[in-house]
């Protein structure tokens, strides 16, 4: 088990180092794919083991929880980690197909940097203490800053500035929050915090909860802290945006689910629900006002974060289960939609709705690849979005939070509306005259990678029963003392 956990963190980093040293593009791709593939395989093996044997804890260097870094492979982490790593692997394959086009990322940097980002993702998911979480966030963010701006185009620099400044501010707040937590409790280990924070005076307790709600909320792009997201994401190369969309905000919400559930921040529930409702509606309305595929999809990231926040804000077993399930469903679906956005761009030379059309007749496969995740995002049966949304909404009904349920259903309808807008603009109508992409890239690889990811989202709805049970167990582990006992024993 130790080796498997180490592999998810170290293999991508080795892949990055070898990839940066490699002289030929073949070697570089080999190194990055090998690093990402090893990590993904290790994560899947870990999921199987942890589902059987329960939470596994690695104490790095043999230090106890007071001083050392603990890596905790509990069921929640193990449900999210394989999904995240497989997504990155698929996107990297897509990137290899796309690199000779005008929208591809620069291959010398993008592959290795994606590997560094993967290390950060693994560490953020596995870590058992807040300070390592901070370091993991920084690892993710620094590679994302470079990935976003590495081509140095004007739009990227403009959007990159807002992105970097906002995220840097929330990182600094994170650091200040760490100081507060350490002053109040004398530890940054999450299991020890779970024991000590509930015993603090209620003002300090709430203050810590609210502070970290803002910190993680900025990373997760909740209302009203989302303004950096829809402007910066669409400027990056498609594959980069796909990874950001599928993972970055989700790591923020993952940290929030973990921290706020195990430290018992139930009093913040009503605030979270209000913000969740606003996030859903504003994200969906923002999407409706856009006329570019990538920008519409970027606003939907925000809207969907609202659902996960709603599940968390209910602070019930069913709510947390719903949030976890939604997280697992949302990561691949969002990534696939951005990959399809990349395919559209590649084919039409633009992702603007006004200047494209008629793609359904010319490329029916792309239309199918778009339709499945789009309907899933809107929450229609039988796709994965339906299962996840159903879990969150039924949890809301059983907690008696009627208002937020109505808002959630309304946001779902608005989502469907803006998906229809993309469909009408891109897939129907007459094709624009002579806007072919200048260099088509390797379409087979790109289609294969997208197809693989679409199959993955279908698999989620196929195995929804198993996933629901696992999410339920993961939620129970978080809400009970199982996590604390595993780390401190």
């Amino acid at each position: 088990m130790n080796a498997l956990i180490a592999a998810t963190i170290i293999a991508p980093l080795l892949g990055a180092a070898l990839g940066l040293m490699a002289r030929s593009s073949l070697l570089r791709d080999g190194a990055t794919i090998a690093g990402l593939g090893t990590a993904a395989a290790a994560a899947i093996a870990l999921l199987v083991r942890v589902a059987d044997e329960g939470t596994y804890v690695v104490r790095v260097g043999g230090w106890g929880p007071e001083l050392g870094i603990a890596l905790v492979a509990d069921l929640f982490a193990m449900l999210v980690l394989p999904v995240a790593l497989v997504i990155i692997l698929v996107v990297e394959i897509f990137a290899i197909g796309q690199r000779r086009t005008a929208w591809g990322a620069n291959p010398e940097l993008a592959g290795p940097l994606l590997c560094v980002l993967t290390t950060g993702v693994s560490l953020a998911i596995l870590t058992g203490d807040l300070f390592t979480l901070f370091v993991a966030f920084e690892l993710i963010l620094v590679s994302s800053y470079v990935l976003l701006t590495h081509q140095g185009r004007r739009g990227q620099i403009r959007a990159g500035m807002t992105y970097v400044v906002m995220n840097l501010l929330s990182s600094t707040l994170f650091l200040l929050g760490l100081a507060f937590v350490y002053a109040a409790t004398g530890t940054v280990n999450m299991a020890l915090l779970a024991e000590r924070i509930p015993n603090l005076p209620s003002g300090v307790h709430l203050g810590i909860g609210a502070w970290f709600f803002i910190v993680f909320g900025t990373k997760a792009a909740i209302f009203p802290l989302f303004s950096w997201l829809p402007d910066s994401y669409p400027t990056a190369p498609t594959t980069i945006t796909a990874v950001f969309a599928g993972l970055l905000t989700k790591i923020g919400i993952y940290a929030m689910i973990r921290f706020h559930t195990i430290t018992g921040m139930d009093e913040l529930g009503s605030v979270m629900l209000i913000i969740a409702g606003a996030t859903m509606i504003i994200g969906a309305l923002g999407a409706l006002a856009q006329s570019n595929v990538k920008r519409i999809l970027s606003f939907h990231i925000i809207s969907q974060i609202g659902y996960m926040l709603m599940g968390l804000g209910l602070f019930s077993a069913a709510g947390t289960t719903g949030a976890i399930l939604f997280l697992i469903h949302h990561m691949p679906v969002k990534t696939v939609l951005f990959l399809v956005g990349g395919l559209i761009e590649n084919d039409q030379g633009t992702s603007s709705l006004d200047r494209s059309g008629g793609l359904a007749a010319r490329r029916p496969l792309i239309a199918v690849f778009f339709a499945i995740p789009a309907l899933s995002l809107a929450g229609l049966p039988p796709f994965s979005g339906f299962v996840a949304k159903f879990a969150v909404i039924s949890a809301g009904i059983s907690s008696g939070a009627t208002l937020i349920v109505i808002v959630a259903l309304l946001a779902g309808a608005l989502t469907l509306l803006s998906m229809t807008k993309i469909w009408i603009g891109v897939f129907w109508g007459t094709p624009p005259d002579a806007t072919q992409a200048n260099a088509p890239g390797n379409r087979t690889i790109m289609l294969a990678a997208t197809g693989l990811a679409v199959t993955g989202t279908l698999a989620i709805s196929l195995f929804a029963g198993t996933l629901f049970e696992l999410s339920e167990r993961a939620a129970d582990d978080l809400r009970s003392s199982a996590y604390v006992e595993a780390v401190t024993k």
Partner: protein
Amino acid sequence: MSVALLVAVGGLTSVGLYLITARSLSRIILGFSLLGHAAVIALLTAGGPPGPAPIAGTGTESTANPVPQALALTAIVISFGLALFLLALAGRQHQLTGDDLVEDDLEDQRVANASAVDSEGTR
């Protein structure tokens, strides 16, 4: 806990936040450096009362708490690296536009254009 340190944290935070609201990236970088210092001092203050260096086997009781110092060191390294990245970003912006100002985002520009069109329509 020393009042001087608390005042330092407060002062650095307020000046840092003020600088971050500026439009020019070089001021923002300065702001972040100050905020980073504030966070590091806050971490040190969180470690409790000062004491002799925490070296094992020196036989003294009541040494300083080493954990926040380790955390602070890590944070310093990270903020140093990020300051460099921000400088590079400012440099690139200067290359492209001749200044280092943060530009309006696309949404702002669209809203501004839309209101210009509206006011023309009512005129």
